[in-house]
Symmetry: none
């Protein structure tokens, strides 16, 4: 996972005048390109998007884009990384709010589903477009999948250890949960979506809980009051 989640320090100061302003401008442009790319990629698909499109959407020139990123693929990766970091942060938060192991595992899933439900573009990126960029993309994508599956797995392990659920292959269970969620979201993504994705979750819960033989908790610490 190494590369997917990390921090990029940009505080290096050079020269004899404050670089602060320059740096901010650069960072702001960097972000604007990324935002534009997300929009373009999720709208037209990775392959159909041209660097020109991204340049146009970000009100920059093509050369400007290439100044900030070495290439189209790198933009996609940066996007994935940024989104993954954001998702993981939210997941951590949500997990911290829960106390029961199973609830923690569930929280990971729920947050992803809720976040994707609110950010269609992001969902497309991860669940659809990421497949359209060739071999290297697949590797990165799998890293991301495994990352989330592992979070689920670890908390299911805890649940087993605590006797909350019967012993099962927790990695596989994590994968099943994740795959189930993926399919639900992808379906929502690629068809007309009459009802909000979030609503499916109520129905999805018992299925995944039962899959690992867990009792349905009486109350869900749903964290539904999150904003953004």
């Amino acid at each position: 996972m190494a590369g997917l989640v990390g921090s990029k320090p940009t505080d290096v100061s050079v020269g004899f005048v404050s670089m602060k302003f320059e740096q901010n401008r650069a960072e702001e442009r960097h972000r604007r390109i990324l935002d534009a790319a997300l929009k373009v990629f999720s709208h037209k698909g990775y392959r159909e998007s041209s660097v020109d499109d991204i340049a146009g959407e970000s009100a920059t020139s093509k050369g400007g884009v290439y100044f900030h990123f070495p290439g189209k693929q790198a933009i996609f990766f940066a996007l994935l990384e940024r989104a993954a970091r954001m998702l993981l942060d939210r997941v951590e938060e949500a997990i911290a709010r829960e106390t029961e192991p199973v609830a923690k595992a569930e929280a990971a899933l729920h947050v992803v589903l809720r976040t994707f439900g609110k950010h269609r573009a992001l969902a497309r990126l991860f669940l659809v477009e990421a497949y359209g960029g060739g071999r290297e993309f697949h590797t990165r994508l799998m890293e991301f999948h495994e990352l989330f599956i592992d979070v689920i797995k670890r908390h299911l392990d805890d649940a087993v250890a605590a006797g909350a659920i019967e012993p099962v292959d927790t990695e596989l269970a994590g994968r099943v949960w994740f795959g189930a969620m993926n399919e639900v979201i992808t379906h929502w993504l690629l068809t007309d979506h009459p009802k909000r994705l979030e609503d499916s979750y109520a129905l999805l819960r018992p299925l995944i809980f039962h899959s690992v033989g867990a009792e349905m908790p009486v109350h869900v610490g749903d964290g539904a009051n999150e904003n953004r």
Copy 2:
């Protein structure tokens, strides 16, 4: 679903020579191109594959390919259709061999997993490459997903009706099953796969059975004696 599963009539009369022969030759060429395309697409990915690659692999010329298919995308669709038809045929067979509704539902899943396990190229086509061809591809792909999910759903409905399992949202359950399977196969596809995909199934079974509150059947009529 209309287009995905159907028959392509090739009975158009041509000339004054043995139509039979002509037709066979044309059909044979048609099939050879499809086989070549499967090989090429699953090896290099849809976008990275050129029509020239396919022509080369099928020992035809580019013009020849364009005689048999209107374009590159059409080849991919034809491939998907052919594969879907094959898969569905096998699914039907397997279902017919089972008597219990839940077992029938399971059989649908199992056959797909087993078939993909044996035909990696096919699996790549459906689970990975199909995402790389833009909007229209996604629609077709979803049609295919729904088709299989529907098979599962119908038998789960039967199971509910027969009182074999508790009432659940059977469509969602079908989707969960399918999504779980997809994730398992995709993982197997995109990483080194030390053990055969088939082996994961034994572990996957209890999870999906429990998800719908079904008892694990003592013995699976596993149809493991199928060839190809």
Copy 3:
């Protein structure tokens, strides 16, 4: 030198209809592109010439050019090869017409000078533009130089063996001759050239002859009646 001078057989017949016509068309286009490239390269310089220019000049499309040649550099090499072959052929002819070893050595030089004098574009290609294409170009160019120098050297060796001239480092002498000629032609090429290049030769002769201590021959079999 291997690649620089050789023959490209194109007589392979495939299919069931005469390929003669197709082949001719292709060959004709091939040649037209080469001719156009010579014109463009010698007019604008290698780097300043774009493939578009060549396509335009040859009344083809850019794609057409790329069908016949793998890239811009390959066109240049092909041009060099074709010209080298032509030059060498003429050199061989001229040498065959002479009987004295020194006269043979001289003939090699003379033919090149005369040919370049008539085909400025060719001269530019070899003497100027060939330097503008990076490392690989230099290697090829040196191969060409060595080729001609070697012809001179061999006949000077004969002259030494025959006692016509004093023993000298014949390779170096060949290089001196060649270099002298190059400078004369290059100067003619890169400045206004009031008088014909050919006229310089009468003055150049005694210098190069004396350099190897050869008597000036009373009469040069000058082959001046060559056409083209």
Copy 4:
């Protein structure tokens, strides 16, 4: 020739701080850029070198380079000028050390060969890369050639006047000498060079001397004790 050899005045007054210091700093930067450019150009070739490369090598920024020079081409010209000035200075020195006209003419040649032999980068610049920059480069380059040829010519004229050699076309003779030397150096430059360039000179001498019908001097005041 005007521009090629001259002095660049940098006495423009700037501000209220020690002008001397400012000026030195500017000059130092100017020189550093030129040194870097020589390194880069001779290593990668003119076209392949980017202004960024030069900026990097000179530990400046791209903007800094553009402050000191109006453009990439100007850097190359400045380099050529600086090198030509240096070469000519050395030539003058060497000529002054000789007394015989023919020896003076030879000295010009010898110094160039020796200098290039010691500074490969310089040799590449003049003999190879200078061709790769389009029309304007060629003009400048020819100016330089003529300059050196003229030096040789003048001393050969003296030699003729002094009766040391027979009357010949001295300009052409100068060109022959120069061209011969060029070819020898270029060959040394573009191939593996087992032996030092300087060593070829001993063999080259008799050839060029004889070319103008000069006696080989018993001893050359070779100036071999020059450093750098």
